[in-house]
Symmetry: C2
Subunit: 586 residues, 2 copies
Amino acid sequence: MTSQDARTSENGREFGWHKDYVTGSRPDLKVPVRRVHLTNGQDVTLYDTSGPYTDPDIATDVRRGLAPLRENWIIGRGDTEEYAGRPVRPEDDGIKHTSPRGGLRNLDAVFPGRPRQPRRGRGGQAVTQLAYARRGEITEEMEYVALREGVSAETVREEIAAGRAVLPANVNHPEIEPMIIGKKFLVKVNANIGNSAVTSSIEEEVEKMTWATRWGADTVMDLSTGRNIHTTREWVLRNSPVPIGTVPLYQALEKVDGKAEELTWEIYKDTVIEQAEQGVDYMTVHAGVLLRYVPLTARRKTGIVSRGGSIMAAWCLAHHKESFLYENFEELCEILASYDVTYSLGDGLRPGSIADANDEAQFAELRTLGELNTIAKRHNVQTMIEGPGHVPMHKIKENIDLQQEICEEAPFYTLGPLTTDVAPGYDHITSGIGAAMIAWWGTAMLCYVTPKEHLGLPDRDDVKTGVITYKIAAHAADLAKGHPGAQAWDDALSDARFEFRWEDQFNLALDPDTARAFHDETLPAEPAKTAHFCSMCGPKFCSMKISQDIRRAHGDELAVDPEAGMAQKSREFAEAGNRVYLPVAD
Amino acid sequence: MTSQDARTSENGREFGWHKDYVTGSRPDLKVPVRRVHLTNGQDVTLYDTSGPYTDPDIATDVRRGLAPLRENWIIGRGDTEEYAGRPVRPEDDGIKHTSPRGGLRNLDAVFPGRPRQPRRGRGGQAVTQLAYARRGEITEEMEYVALREGVSAETVREEIAAGRAVLPANVNHPEIEPMIIGKKFLVKVNANIGNSAVTSSIEEEVEKMTWATRWGADTVMDLSTGRNIHTTREWVLRNSPVPIGTVPLYQALEKVDGKAEELTWEIYKDTVIEQAEQGVDYMTVHAGVLLRYVPLTARRKTGIVSRGGSIMAAWCLAHHKESFLYENFEELCEILASYDVTYSLGDGLRPGSIADANDEAQFAELRTLGELNTIAKRHNVQTMIEGPGHVPMHKIKENIDLQQEICEEAPFYTLGPLTTDVAPGYDHITSGIGAAMIAWWGTAMLCYVTPKEHLGLPDRDDVKTGVITYKIAAHAADLAKGHPGAQAWDDALSDARFEFRWEDQFNLALDPDTARAFHDETLPAEPAKTAHFCSMCGPKFCSMKISQDIRRAHGDELAVDPEAGMAQKSREFAEAGNRVYLPVAD
């Protein structure tokens, strides 16, 4: 055991947690887990998204990137080929030949890791997990996620084949630890990063990505819109243990100086190939924004709030025809299929306020996304559907129910939803409420919202707060869905709490650092870590201590089998109508 | 207008917010509101719990206390009398005659405000809002809350008379600004304060109370358990604009050195009268913990987690009979009725973990609370019922449905519920999720949970975070319940957001300080306050800016009446089955 945080408790037992692996059918199929060692000798195994960074036996170097874990699996399938690939151009990083500043703002920002050639399906064939699943093949990636989720590999294959789950894994992103997104599996959380024209740097973005996965992000979307987009993405991909998503439209728009109407299918297609060759695992495509839907947003309180949606709406109106995304959707499917890039069909017309929730524009687009989902499946492209947004609690369920019906149960991937508009600065909470509910009802992945939503770019602390808030929503949903094994974590922590095993309570917490720090604020002394009370109530008023005293003092009475003994009396009492002042039964 | 935060925008309009009042049928019936003045000339009026502290025209002094707003109303009813009252004893502050340290730890802590005699119902009669409502009388307090909630006074009277709402207002707490708790009204939030044997001082508690109401706490519970309990409570009551709740059992236990089995009805009754004379508006009473229910907790994961519940369970087992609270409940009703102290019937057996949710112990006690509710009503005592606790999302609704059925729709007052046990340090969020849901389904008041829950005593920042989180949950529920006027707030903020009226967005925010600070972190410059974008996406990618450009550029097309024009085309399209590649309709 390579202990991360091992100490020895009074009883001499080593406790803490460490990174461990569950090995599958082949030695290079090792699924990471977080093993928590309790002071009572028990172990609790938790899902781990943090990648090699939390394994002291693995030396990582962001300038070299992570080891290509899946490379042999991909090559082994023998259905892909390396090729020269598209040359990287200055404009990929937003630099114009005409630019007086020419060259990268920061030359050594170019990723220095091993040179690589892109790979794609031989003869343009679909090399997607969906294609394999439909052919009845269980890939290494499927076995990997089966071990990770504690289900059978056949269940994974079935869910993917039916289109109810996606396993985002571009053949050009061999570094990822495979994960699955579907309602039968653990609810997943996505964290957005990305620099903007206004602020932040490449190094910051890579750091935000590893930081987000450290706290539990299952996927990361790079939404960069400023300069160095291509290079930033390269650094993020080569160092990411989780699937990376993007919105290619953002980079394409940079290539036409932000003039939406100047966008063309050729520029967009070239950008998609550029990103597919780099290894982007899933792409948000706003192909559902139809010309005829735009007027439906005219009377909205907040119009169109999706960046991609507003860009496509502007394009449609400028050219007064359907978008190049919609018109060329079949060709786009063929491209994505040859790299196994997963679609995230964007909800460009999602509501941006409580007033606009569940309106005609939103649901009209959803119906079109259902059509596009069917087409994508025909091309063996894995597909998930994006959802809102701002929705009051009583209108949330209609969103997931309609999406599941219209999109043949394709995974739903929602942003929140935010349940009120009045709390800027706390939208991780306004949306965490809606996220937990919609995930309970079937949403497969939640896109986090940070405290900075609507106000500014999230910093390191905002990213952590957003991820933790959404891990709470996701786990609360796993519990409500009765996901097998979900409650074992709660039970272990509650046992530790009731037995005053403070260190175990900290180590089992979603955020051990914060739990320990908050406890120590009021009771720093080491003895307090084993005290049978905390500073909230103090010794005399600790209900759990009194509960334990009761059990010690009245063991006999309480030991009476509840089914046979006192519980029976209690039932008689209940049957007697719980009349008050009934003579005590003893 | 006495502006709190008035500035002048470019267009010369004054904007910001200020404290204002709506006057009722008599000059001394003035309901406070927060008026937000927008830069577009509109006003938005918000509910205000902050008391005189936010009115620059009123000089407040914590050493003198607030003006006795309700005194003339109470005297005017002519059904109460002043009397000598119970002498305050050293042990009321936890000081034993035998104590070598004798006297108050901190003498000038004794409240220096105006001397007052306690008041009670003449001849011990019930002087409760419930009694008045049942007699068809609309009190000043009822008219006050009617104005505050924007409903008719008759509606308020009906809800109180039916026992579906409570208006906590002890005749000895004339300082409060009346408020109402019931499912037909805005969802309310309670904040707990209180020193413990381990930490904190009188001044801190008074400061926490005013701080909590500043951010929206509708009531405050003083859960002090250390020394100076009596004096701390006096300072809090005399300075509180909101109803104050307590758990008399905590102080009674201090009087017997924390030995639960030594508690007696006499000591408890004396403590209740002591607190009623001071002006406590509602009291948590754990009379539902019956001897026969205790064994039902023996196999629980976390036993009994309510302090009061564990104390009463210990007492019942030690004496092997029903508690003095249960046996003397009718006499307790007579006492509370003569001061108009409202019952908060405590759920001493609430679940303390996901594993224990909705178990037999919890629901057996709830049935007994239903019986006690009926008895309390017979004595004209206003009554609400406390609820859990730790409950996974799929088990929440059963709690409110069962409580409403068993307790004849008496107001439900819940702690959270927490939807998972795994996130100590973030339980304001794990519980905010459950709180929003249970409030949507009918809970009338939510007891906040702070980030320090399970770990330590909340400090000033934790209190603010807890209150804000719960105001979000409460407002999200008001929206989902379709409370008249609730959405106007969201609409005003979303309009400001869409129109880039940043200052209006800040001033309308639940927490203007945080919203402004977060925005300024990345875009501090004053011009940014009127910029048509923020640092999240930058100018080129601001969807709202693009939306507006679209409306400007394509006004004619978009102006087409959606009902008649494009929407019709959109419907035809839908009826045509949304076939992809359908020729563009134009």
